[in-house]
């Protein structure tokens, strides 16, 4: 056996596996066996960590290494120049000039995880003179940098952040962010005012109740009633105005919204209370009204915050889309330009590993492109001179020159995104259960009030008006209005902690009813990457293979590297990459060839010995390894189905969902995957273009909810058209922006949790609605019989709200514990 002693020839393969773990001085991760410097005090797992350490050490910031919890992640700088950060177009878009001669920019940083990141980023002013301040908002990974543009260019700041392990991107949502910030602050101010007023009215009310039970001079009663009136007036007209505005808008649109009964209750209660105060008789309802306004505002704030968190997440990811392209000028010089500044006719220089920033035609070079983002096709596409290429595809193997045909708004990606926008707008808004009920509720209350008025008119005309009004007040739907937002906002908050970001409350209601579930294949059911699925042959050649594949961005190379992280590569003396074929070279004195069977056999001497190795399965991409003229190993590459996907599909079926696969990949591959998930072949469609997917969703929508799960731009239009679009981990930014739900964990298991959580949330909502309706029924009964008095009314209002709050709080909707 020529290869029996191969292991002995390659020292790393022969070395014992169990090595002493050496931690990296900077990030604390294990230093790979090959990089341990014997006897050195400081060990680094990569050059990125070494550079970061040097920067900190040189500037006397060794204190970083004494922080309690440090970021345990190797520093992998992109090494980009960030030249475009100094460009005029960039400045016009993202940089704001401040009055004091300084400039300010919001940057989204990758890789921000913990407290040590705040420490490090905020010390950039110490590392770079000219930077006045850097502030990091940890929840959104947003850094606000204030610097002196005359002293230091922004690109240098960006390079510094990059070498510390935080590649910066311009934050593309500054304007929307400013609007939201204003809204949030106004909301908070309203809650503050309403809360302070409610608290102080309570004090006056307690004095009155105490006096009511224990006796109180009439003078003081009058005084406290007037104090309450003075207090409640600003609460009604300042923070409470939102309910009147909402009710007015609903009435003008000829619908009955929850704001209508609230506004009615507030208005009637206030007027009657004020009249009673002036004429010095009968109940005032001011304490209940003030508390109602406060609680309702808190409910709305909670709901808004949960939705914000999810929307923020998608927007930040959107900031990651390529912001630059390298343009080759007529003089042969290559400059980096912001993607916004690209024009048709320009020539782009696209290196391997880069994403195309515009549509165009290849003018020079031959390479393979990964178009999975756009088409869902999992195999790379080979392109030649004259081939049309699209923005959003990734160049895999060798440099290309591309003449820009369509850029920005007219590129294919942008068109798909516009389609997404349109489908989202066409989608009929889901009317939430509580709002649907509100219409019936208002009608019932008004009817009951009329009946009360009529009956008491016969029995005791003096009390008729009083009793009808107390009915209107006591049935003010505080708990009813609180129940849905509270339950939904708590569920959204808990879901976010479990890695499920939900952008709207209506999503929870839609998902609680089983319907049709359409699954994308690439990246959703499968891992979306080329991985080594089969390997047969001599394990001793693994260091040799890795040596040849060490620097390649080709997915096969990445697949080899990902499959054998524990194997230290040998040293390659020469390497030659052949586009569309493979790679050959000399490693440790051996001639090694790795590539497609045709390519490898063509390299071998004529009596090519037929390898006695099992052929990889037909759906896999075969790769052969030959050493010194003999084929020694065969590998099969494919896109593996995620672990647990079959269980998840089974669990969803048990809950009553019908599951179908909708993919842009070749039908044979899709059928294969469907078989692995036990989905009938009839329910697995392949070769579906983005437009086909959209059509499939629109056809499937007749009454029942359609849920589209996907990860690519090719799914985005279908996701927007579906009742609920779910974006999965690692998906394209555009797709995440349109998704109603974003799952941060890969795989289909979170989908099962999402559906289960939605069902449980709906049960809580129904329970809350029943509670509040019972309260209102009891209150209405008491008011109609004329048995109501101010104390009972005052107790019933907060008690009903409190029941709903407790019921929502203790409910286990989302979370890992609830299954």
């Amino acid at each position: 056996m020529a290869y029996a002693d191969r292991a002995a020839l390659t020292p790393d393969a022969a070395a014992p596996r169990a090595q002493v773990r050496v931690p990296c001085t900077h990030c604390g991760l294990a230093v790979p066996a090959g990089l341990v410097a014997p006897g050195a005090a400081r060990q680094f797992c990569c050059t990125g960590c070494r550079t970061a350490y040097d920067i900190l050490h040189e500037h006397g910031l060794d204190q970083y290494y004494r922080l309690g919890a440090r970021r345990a992640e190797a520093v992998t700088p992109t090494g980009r120049t960030y030249e475009e950060f100094d460009h005029d177009a960039f400045r016009a878009l993202y940089v704001r000039a401040r009055g004091d001669g300084l400039a300010q920019v919001d940057l989204y940083l990758e890789g921000v995880h913990c407290a040590s990141c705040v420490w490090l980023v905020e010390r950039v002013p110490l590392l770079l003179p000219g930077v006045a301040a850097a502030e990091l908002e940890i929840r959104r990974s947003l850094a606000r940098v204030i610097w002196d543009p005359t002293a230091v260019p922004l690109s240098r700041v960006a390079r510094m952040l990059d070498s510390l392990g935080y590649p910066p991107h311009p934050f593309r949502g500054v304007q929307r962010d400013a609007i939201r910030r204003r809204e949030d602050r106004a909301m908070l101010a309203r809650i503050g005012v309403a809360g302070a007023i409610a608290g102080n009215i309570m004090l006056a009310a307690f004095a009155l109740y105490a006096g009511w039970l224990g006796g109180m001079e009439h003078e003081w009663q009058l005084f406290f009633r007037w104090v309450s009136l003075v207090l409640v007036t600003p609460a009604l007209f300042s923070p409470g105005r939102v309910f009147f505005a909402g009710a007015w808008a609903a009435l003008r649109a000829r619908t009955l919204h929850m704001d209508v009964p609230i506004a009615l209750g507030l208005a009637v209660g206030y007027v009657q209370g004020a009249v009673n105060t002036v004429r010095d008789a009968g109940p005032i309802y001011f304490d209940g009204l003030a508390l109602l306004i406060f609680l309702l505002l808190v409910g709305r704030y909670l709901q808004q915050r949960g939705q914000r968190a999810a929307a923020d997440g998608a927007e930040l990811l959107y900031s990651l889309t390529p912001s630059t392209a390298r343009v080759a000028g007529d003089d042969g010089r290559v400059r980096e330009l912001p993607a916004e500044a690209l024009l048709p006719g320009m020539t782009l220089d696209v290196r391997p590993g880069e994403t195309l920033a515009a549509d165009g035609v290849v003018t020079r070079g031959r390479s393979q492109l990964d178009a999975a983002l756009l088409t869902g096709e999992s195999h790379p596409v080979t392109v030649d001179e004259g081939a049309a290429v699209y923005a959003g595809t990734v160049n895999l193997s060798s440099p290309l020159r591309v003449r820009v045909e369509q850029a920005g708004e007219s590129s294919r990606v942008a068109k798909i995104l516009r389609q997404v926008d349109e489908s989202a707008r066409r989608r009929a808004p889901v009317v939430e259960t509580a709002n649907r009920m509100a219409a019936w509720f208002v009608a019932a209350v008004l009817l009951l009030a009329a009946v009360t008025l009529a009956l008491w008119e016969i029995r005791d005309p003096a009390r008729a008006v009083d009793n009808a009004i107390s009915l209107l007040i006591v049935t003010c739907p505080c708990a009813l209005a609180l129940s849905t937002p509270l339950a939904v906002s708590m569920a959204i908050g808990r879901a976010a902690r479990a890695g499920i970001f939900i952008k709207g409350g209506d999503v929870v209601e839609t998902l609680a009813r089983p319907g049709l579930l359409l699954l994308d294949k690439t990246g959703t059911i499968t891992e979306g990457r080329t991985a080594l699925v089969q390997w047969s042959g001599d394990d001793g050649v693994r260091p040799l293979v890795l040596a040849l594949e060490a620097d390649s961005t080709h997915p096969i190379a990445a697949g080899f590297r990902a499959a054998w992280p524990e194997v230290a590569p040998a040293r390659a003396e020469t390497t030659v990459h052949v586009v569309g074929g493979g790679v050959r070279g000399r490693v440790d004195g051996h001639d090694v060839v790795v590539g497609s069977p045709r390519f490898v056999r063509a390299q071998l001497p004529p009596p090519a010995a037929a390898p006695a190795l099992p052929e990889p399965e037909a759906r896999l991409t075969p790769v052969l390894v030959a050493v010194d003229g003999r084929v020694v190993a065969a590998a099969g590459f494919g896109d593996p189905v995620r672990a647990g996907a079959a269980d998840a599909v089974c669990a969803l079926r048990e809950r009553g969902w019908s599951v179908r696969v909708l993919s842009g990949d070749a039908p044979a591959v899709v059928r294969d995957v469907a078989r692995a998930l036990a989905i009938p072949e009839a329910d697995a469609a392949g070769s579906a273009s983005p437009e086909d997917k959209l059509r499939a969703v629109e056809q499937a929508r007749n009454g029942r909810p359609v849920v589209m799960v996907g990860d690519g731009v090719n799914d985005a239009a279908a996701m927007a058209a579906a009742s609920v679009g779910v974006g999965v981990h690692g998906g394209a930014e555009a797709c995440l922006a349109t998704a109603d739900v974003y799952l941060t964990e890969p795989g289909l298991a979170p989908l099962v949790r999402l559906v289960g959580g939605a069902e449980r949330t709906m049960r809580v909502i129904r329970r809350n609605l029943v509670f509040s309706l019972l309260y209102n029924l009891a209150g209405a009964g008491l008011a109609m019989t004329g048995a109501i008095n101010p104390l009972v009314a005052a107790l019933m209002m907060p008690a009903s709200s409190l029941t709903v709050v407790i019921s929502s709080w203790q409910a286990r909707t989302f979370g890992r514990s609830a299954q």
């Binding site: 050490h57 705040v118 905020e122 240098r156 602050r185 503050g192 302070a196």
Partner: protein, 62 residues
Amino acid sequence: MSVLYIVVPLALLVVGAAVAAFVWAADRGQFDDLDTPAVRMLHDDEERNPPTDAPPPHDYPE
């Protein structure tokens, strides 16, 4: 008891001042980011050690 006629309006004035302060703080963005300050305050108490005069042990990209 007639002191209430002075004390209650006075209390309401204090409440008004507190509410005004809160609204002012909210408008100035004091409550925009509630997560980072909690982390930041843990770091601020130590000075940095004196910068080393020795040249950096390795080259690094500028």
